[in-house]
Symmetry: C2
Amino acid sequence: MKPKLSDVAEEAGVSPTTVSRVINNHGYLSAATKQKVYDAMATLNYQPNSLARSLKGKKSHIIGLIFPGITNPFFAELIEKLEKQLFLQGYKVILCNSADDVAKERNYLQMLIANQVDGIITGAHNLGIEEYQNTNLPIVAFDRRYTDGMPMISSDNLQGGILATDTLYQAGAKNIYFMGNPNQKGNPTDRRLQGYRQQMAKLGLENHVFPIFFDETPKIKQVSIQQFLKKKQADGIICSDDLTAILVLQTARELNIQVPNDLKIIGYDGSNFIRTYFPELSTVVQPMDDIVMMLVESLINRITNREDKLEESDFILPVSLYHGGTV
Amino acid sequence: MKPKLSDVAEEAGVSPTTVSRVINNHGYLSAATKQKVYDAMATLNYQPNSLARSLKGKKSHIIGLIFPGITNPFFAELIEKLEKQLFLQGYKVILCNSADDVAKERNYLQMLIANQVDGIITGAHNLGIEEYQNTNLPIVAFDRRYTDGMPMISSDNLQGGILATDTLYQAGAKNIYFMGNPNQKGNPTDRRLQGYRQQMAKLGLENHVFPIFFDETPKIKQVSIQQFLKKKQADGIICSDDLTAILVLQTARELNIQVPNDLKIIGYDGSNFIRTYFPELSTVVQPMDDIVMMLVESLINRITNREDKLEESDFILPVSLYHGGTV
DNA sequence: TTGTAAGCGTTATCAC
DNA sequence: GTGATAACGCTTACAA
């Protein structure tokens, strides 16, 4: 059987209290006692049981991460960096893949509550506000607006949309299409489209949206992109994410459309992965490191200091441009 | 405060025991009582505390996943699929990023024990056998040999090396290089190199290894690949992973080396991501779905039936070839 | 400086 | 059918 605290106590010839004190560095202890306890812990190969500890009201030092998946390199990097930062601060991570499935996200949320996580970082799409409100856990959101009380971190999606549009325009494109989800559901990412529309209006150009949905498989996207490109209506395309942009680029090549001469393409996200393995793609870069810092800092603030007054808690970080060769 | 079981009991006018029974479907209960309890749970928005439950010896239904990172699409997909399968079986997942850092891996291992996970799936590289042996948790390993008792699932790395070599040879390459980690540490993946050497010998060709290490950054890899390609010694390269293969392909294009005419390239792993977004890359495909199935099944067997005799527990799954255009 | 005892939220055992 | 009660492994007043 796994050794428990009282076994250590017995082995060391002291009381359980003392062992607990040694483990937690509580109060005054003679060096000799400490040593005895350490020795006992070593000989028994003792590991404290976190569950019992958290049950006593201590923090679990676990953070739940709810994201729609990890195969998109942007999310993979974001999650990897979050994990890294949180680990440095002494937190471990439970990964919840909401997979664009409402039931699953709800299920995970309940599980996180049941497991007494100290907080949650969510970047998932589907769940409504109320469900998150009902947990009075510290939660911060990435690129999602949930509740007024909940801090939201995002990059400047409006500016990103403007920047992309302007970049294509400056490069000579006039028939600029936005390829992405046209449904505005009040999420911060909607503003990419708003930025595009706003800038197109300013430039006196007509705006066009070619709908692509997040949950379509790449194959399906490819087919509709192919049909679209064959019509040759666009000389510039803003994709609302890099993966879509790559499909457009591939398809354009297959159709012998010259990029950037006949068609300029710009993506969105700009993860390290994309910039390394698709260096030719021009894209709007989200400041990943800053996003991670803000998310973690913001969450830990809320965890350690929950009575904090709910000051303005939205952070919108500036985007930048990466010049590949597709513009 | 969060409602607890006794609150529900009070609300429903029954004893805590009864509530527990309702929750766990234990023994005989009158329909009326059940309903009262359900109602009380609903009005209080009660969530059972998993910690207390696990403390009582119940399973935690949490599986630890220890992997070296998630930015490699192969691992991202593997982890995503593992998570999905495990979720279907009622398990949740704690993600541990060992990040090729021994201390971190050890730290995570201890944490998993402390949190009473039901089992572990590991694909991490750095920790020695003993540390895993000491936990008497159910553990299964992907592509790593740890202990004789621990099941190992991998794809047929030897055959993969042979297949890659043969493919290049059949396509006309004679100066075939292997690009990967030359250090043989007894891991199953070492056999990719062995397969290459074996097949080269059989073909009467000289074998050459160009060393690339897993922990090098892409930039560093790029530089050494560039230097290598400039010498033009190879007319065929087997890369021990797809990401390296992509760097080779990129660099070859930069140097105006014609692929596949002057240089044939073959990668290794063949994730969906790579096949979708780099369809031109020929690669040895690991049977991801089968790997996931075997890992999960094998682990759950061990969890539910720990006294199982330690029958042969290594599974080596067949690889296949994806034909892009680089061979 | 160290020990005793109560309690965290749940479940299992035994009574009724 | 249902209810006391002890126990899981740990922490923390309160004593000593």
